[in-house]
Symmetry: C2
Subunit: 283 residues, 2 copies
Amino acid sequence: MELWYTEKQTKNHGITLKIRKTLYHDKSDFQSLDVIETAQFGRMLVLDGMVMTTDRDEFVYHEMISHVAMNTHPKPREVLVVGGGDGGVVREVLRHPSVTGVVLAEIDGKVIETSKKYFPQIAGKLNDERVDVQVTDGILHIQQNPGKYDVIIVDSTEPVGPAVGLFQKPFYEGVHAALKEDGIMVAQTESPWFNQELIRQVFRDISDTFPIARLYTASIPTYPSGLWSFTIGSKKYDPLAVDTSSLQSMNTRYYRPEIHRSLFDLPQFVLDLLTDRDDSDAV
Amino acid sequence: MELWYTEKQTKNHGITLKIRKTLYHDKSDFQSLDVIETAQFGRMLVLDGMVMTTDRDEFVYHEMISHVAMNTHPKPREVLVVGGGDGGVVREVLRHPSVTGVVLAEIDGKVIETSKKYFPQIAGKLNDERVDVQVTDGILHIQQNPGKYDVIIVDSTEPVGPAVGLFQKPFYEGVHAALKEDGIMVAQTESPWFNQELIRQVFRDISDTFPIARLYTASIPTYPSGLWSFTIGSKKYDPLAVDTSSLQSMNTRYYRPEIHRSLFDLPQFVLDLLTDRDDSDAV
């Protein structure tokens, strides 16, 4: 018998993966959680029926949501990760020697427990002494900590269920207030192929909230369309003005300082999302 | 009843697409041909069970295999397209006003007929007076035309069936011989996620054959992993040395002159394929 996991990534389209084993299934107060062993991508964490992370391609998402903003800030010390209960972003943030403290504000404690058990290479740094893991609503945490952070990284699930509020303008205004006066934020902002309306709206909201807004993309094969976007809002430092020759190599597998600036050289159809008034999705 | 088309892109992984209608099925001397109407990507051409092109994302592949090499050559006049019976590459090549002649060497006449009937926006330029459509083996055509072309574009199917020979070193040597002394070639070279061994081998072969070899990638959601690679071999002109400020805009949707150079700033794991000796696939 062959088991296949099929995920509808839109209502008309999806991916299908051969399963070696189903390892875990549970339901938390917020979402369903599954861990499956796939033949192609190794272990895979699935929340509410959507792939969150896999052993084989997790490095792209975690490096790319972290290092672009972290390397844009000249000396990030205090970092907040909203969501990100798998610990992958925390692991990448801790590669930066200037960091003195990382708060992880994850709403669902079961994501943290499950990741520690089934994804030790991803979650292993959650026990680092610089890390403060808080099972809490990131929106509340932000309201309670004005002016505290150098960098805030929004590692959310899709904009359905618990993460809806993380894609709305009041949230970005709260993030702005929780940052120091030279702080910088970055959020995962979905697929430039399948979520064009969302990207346009988020980019407008972040542009309205921060003097500097920039979008970049990365290749993630297990995410819808294989192309994923990230949006930066910054109070002072422009990712395009970074002296990349001064950046340290970090033994990363996707991000490298030499491509830092090129990441913002977007294909025409992605650039159009940031400048156009057309609100329809392409595919 | 809902119909879904599922394509195994590796033996452990694939995509699945909701079908509105199956429009055409046939078998030629070389391969099976299917045209289906998908809800997500519009009409789709499938050869031997592999997606070749779709209405919605074909612009990426056809622009990106064409314009990087065409814009690297200062004045391309005579162009050969090997494969490419759907006509998409010919359409893009003809956007360059210096072009006086394009030969299309497609081995399977049924691909040309089918594309003209079902994909008129892609195949429409095959009737242009500058185009010479030849139903022939591209390998033979290259042998018979030494020193003729400014640019040769290898728009092949996957390296199984009729296209196997197009991924082998003797073919690149033939392409070298069919180019003028300042000629340039480009080939589609599969997914940096799923075809790492092939990319390493092709890059070595093209590097051995041409003084300048370069690889770049593009996001194509209907191709395996969503990330696709293209490899350039050039006798004289380096894509990285192009004065991009002199390039004309062509109303393209993916390629634009401003990103020409950044395309070669590869993620670390792709760069490693071109420099490493490790021959295993990552996923």
